[in-house]
Symmetry: C2
Subunit: 128 residues, 2 copies
Amino acid sequence: MREYYTITELTREFDVSTRTLRFYEDEGLIAPVRRGRTRLFRPSDRHLIKQIMRGKRLGFSINEIREIIQMYREPPGEVGQLKLMIKRIEEKREELRQKRRDLEETLAELDNAEEACVERLVELGVTT
Amino acid sequence: MREYYTITELTREFDVSTRTLRFYEDEGLIAPVRRGRTRLFRPSDRHLIKQIMRGKRLGFSINEIREIIQMYREPPGEVGQLKLMIKRIEEKREELRQKRRDLEETLAELDNAEEACVERLVELGVTT
DNA sequence: TTGCGAATTGACTTTTACGTAAATGCCGTG
DNA sequence: CACGGCATTTACGTAAAAGTCAATTCGCAA
């Protein structure tokens, strides 16, 4: 496991701009260390970026992603906080399950659409 | 099946504003008929709105939703167009499968996070 | 030491997806 | 027919999430 990544290495790996990574830092999603003014990204930062990109693809806002990332961290020490966190996690999971239903339905409709296209091709006598 | 829905009926059903439905009309996603200046939404419009909301929950932009909705429509008559459409549909399905992977991974991480919280509660001697 | 590319900062701009406000239209009811 | 209540149009506003640009500044190779 590499110790540090430069900002441009990560922009290439995740296909984002440096501006975007700095924006995420401003937003408190990542906190790379510095050598002088230069940012050094550790594997943990890289993993965070991976999670951010996943959240983005799923349509979560920066704030929602921030919340989700906090859920991945060490559980809090106080009982009330713990119970609250468990509740939040369960809510987020329900949201994700809804997204999954949406996803399956959309995939099913696209299946039908493709089928209809293929049938139409057959009608037109095109050999696939 | 009802013949027409009013705009407010649909805003309540889908929990969106009238502004939003008019915006979707401006964007060409729906095309309710008119009685005078008043919009009348048919079941087909209602179904479209359902599809739009699904797309939104999955994080698609208006333009992407427009594309997806076009895929649900009658297949085109010309062979080249048909083949192109099939290609587009396959691309969109691949995108959805990526989202599904993202979703499963996120759900798995949330499972872990919840587990950690529950364990922590047990350590603290809290009887769930 | 100088030069050069890569990195940083800060300010301004853009796009998307609506929100909000003002002025006005339509219509059923008392 | 006046009124209340929903609808509409037009126009401007805004928050989120970056993009873009200009002005440095660093680090290191020559």
